[in-house]
């Protein structure tokens, strides 16, 4: 991959469908990139990348976008290899359908980060919006591989319908984390607003703080010694050392969502009673 940098020099007149600013521009020349259309959402007449950006090749091996991309949605669409760094905030659905490589957002990401992601790694340095790893509209299950790491807080419904992969949220989390979760692992370093994993079928939600779960939807928390916890701790250590450390201590587990016939599990630290 050839490294280049796009510097936002003028904000777009409206919200941009930025799916093209992803895997599709790999291998293009500067000239070609600047002439690529950027569709504006709700507008028939697209602008070009050159209308908003200055582009230059750089020596490193990655693609860097510099500026506030809060109105750019779908950045990193189908990203399959190499490194994409976004030095600023991004709009909705960053990393949509990505399958490999890595995307790093230095700032915040709006809703739908890692939508239908199936591989690779998405790092969000700030906060993330709702529905991390959600499915594309019309799909039954969402994220099916890869890893999303949110350094800050996350909105509601993180891991909505995720089927595989790992979501790590180092900060706090909104309501309904793991909603409709099919499988995969969600680890949360901070507090969770409530209503954890409604309609969860399988998968694992790791909470760093004990909390009361619905006794209708989840089994009573039972202390257990799980060999897999050590493996997951090793896997998480580089991204979330504190969560990894918790997994090496006694934990309790609840199974559910029973109202849904689910056998997912929620792990949390065993509290001293």
């Amino acid at each position: 991959m050839i490294g280049w940098q796009l510097q936002l020099r003028q904000p777009p007149p409206g919200d941009v469908d930025a799916r093209f600013l992803g895997a599709a521009i790999n291998g293009l020349s500067v000239e070609q990139i600047l002439h690529q259309p950027l569709p504006l959402l709700g507008c028939r007449h697209p602008i070009t990348i050159g209308d908003c950006f200055a582009a230059e090749f750089v020596g490193d091996d990655r693609v860097t976008l510099v500026g506030d991309f809060g109105r750019f949605h779908g950045l990193g669409y189908r990203w399959a290899g190499g490194e994409l760094v976004i030095e600023g905030h991004v709009g909705r659905s960053v990393g949509r359908s990505m399958s490999g490589g890595s995307i790093t957002v230095v700032g915040d990401a709006e809703a739908g980060a890692g939508e239908q992601m199936c591989g690779g790694r998405l790092n969000i340095g700030g906060n993330a919006g709702d529905d991390i790893g959600r499915p594309l509209p019309g799909r039954r299950s969402g994220m099916s591989g890869g890893r999303i790491v949110v350094a800050g807080d996350a909105g509601n419904c993180a891991g909505y319908r995720m089927r595989r992969g790992t979501i790590v949220i180092l900060g706090d989390c909104g309501i309904q984390v793991g909603c409709d979760q099919v499988a995969g692992t969600i680890a949360i370093g901070g507090r969770v607003a409530g209503n954890v994993a409604p309609a969860m079928r399988r998968g694992t939600v790791i909470l760093s703080q004990p909390m009361e779960l619905s006794t209708v939807r989840f089994t009573r928390p039972e202390s257990c010694r799980l060999g897999i916890a050590r493996l997951i701790a090793d896997d998480l250590r580089a991204d979330a050392a504190a969560i990894a450390a918790l997994l090496l201590k006694p934990i309790v587990r609840s199974l559910g969502d029973l109202s849904n016939g689910g056998t997912g599990e929620i792990w949390m630290p065993a509290c001293d009673r």
Binding site: G165, A183, R202, G227, I228, R230, L231, I232, D235, T263
Partner: protein
């Protein structure tokens, strides 16, 4: 190792004559398992069951033994464990034997877990097959690039990697120790197998690392494809033609399976050297090796080259 069958000049090691011959070994398929448990005792118990009846492919299907003990720092789940190597003549036989043994000997043993110990594109099923014991309550979990199955059992969960790798390997490396007495050759065998034991990538699958029933191909009985090697049976002296002299009271053979020819050659060198140095010519009449004239196996380990 060499592919030629030319006789080598004789040599002595610590005064023990080394015959100019070669060990003939065969291509095999191999895998490595990592077995862990809550304590070393449980891990050893499970391993003992797992490797039981695994001395020779002739009737056991596979040759399997403990490669070495692992410290908690060396195992995936941070518990004491063992690395186990298994060899078979075909991948299909490994696929048949490993899940069966894992299911009956590891899954059943308290506190154990089972992991892949080797990579490779071709895979041998472990948890992928054993998961059905969970009767629907089993849980799959992908960690990193590996899939694990968690099967609920009465002491918690049996954690088992979905599959393990399968690699090409070599089986049947060997050397024969010719003893002046049973005591001497028995000691020499123990010394040799203890010297080989720490080496990575090899196993000596027979009891104590040695066998007394060296075999030849075929038999007077049509249903047997291997039978006793009368040429090295001291009790048949005078009855059949034998390469061993009157001073040989007993012969024992060390059989070595390894992941590569180089590892087998190294194990042969280490084993022969240790036996000759510690027992010497007072106990050992000589060292030789078993072969079939070079016609069956493509790996020929000439003793002179191995010890060079």
């Amino acid at each position: 190792m060499s592919s030629s069958t030319q006789p080598q000049p004789s040599l002595r090691l610590s005064g023990v004559p080394i015959e100019s011959t070669f060990a003939e070994a065969f291509d095999m398929k191999a895998t490595r398992l990592v077995l862990t448990a809550h304590s070393s005792a449980w891990a050893r118990d499970a391993a003992a069951a797992l490797v039981g009846f695994g001395t020779s492919v002739i009737a056991c299907g596979i040759e399997i033994a403990v490669e070495r003990e692992l410290t908690p720092e060396e195992t995936p789940d941070g518990r004491p464990g063992l690395a186990i190597l298994a060899f078979a003549v075909s991948g299909k036989e490994l696929e048949k034997q490993i899940p069966r043994r894992a299911g009956q000997c590891v899954l059943t043993c308290p506190t154990t877990a089972l992991f892949a110990g080797i990579g490779g594109e071709k895979r041998i099923p472990l948890g992928k097959q054993l998961r059905y014991f969970g009767d629907g309550f089993q849980i799959s979990k992908v960690v990193g690039d590996s899939r694990f199955w968690r099967i609920p059992v009465m002491d918690g969960e049996f954690l088992c990697e979905a599959d393990t790798g399968r690699v090409d390997a070599v089986g049947g490396g060997n050397f024969l120790l010719l003893g002046r007495s049973l005591d001497a050759v028995s000691d020499a065998c123990r010394i040799a197998s203890q010297a080989i034991a720490p080496l990575a990538g090899v196993i000596t699958p027979f009891p104590g690392g040695a066998t007394r029933s060296g075999s030849k191909v075929g038999s007077k009985y049509s249903n047997l494809f291997a039978s006793t090697n009368e040429a090295y049976c001291p009790t048949l002296r005078g009855l059949v033609e034998q390469p061993i002299g009157d001073d040989v009271a007993a012969v024992l053979e060390i059989v070595i399976d390894g992941l590569t020819p180089a590892r087998i050659a190294e194990a042969m060198r280490v084993g022969i050297t240790a036996a000759c140095r510690q027992v010497g010519p007072d106990g050992l009449v000589g060292v030789t090796a078993g072969n079939y004239g070079g016609k069956l196996g493509r790996h020929h380990f000439h003793l002179a080259e191995v010890l060079a």
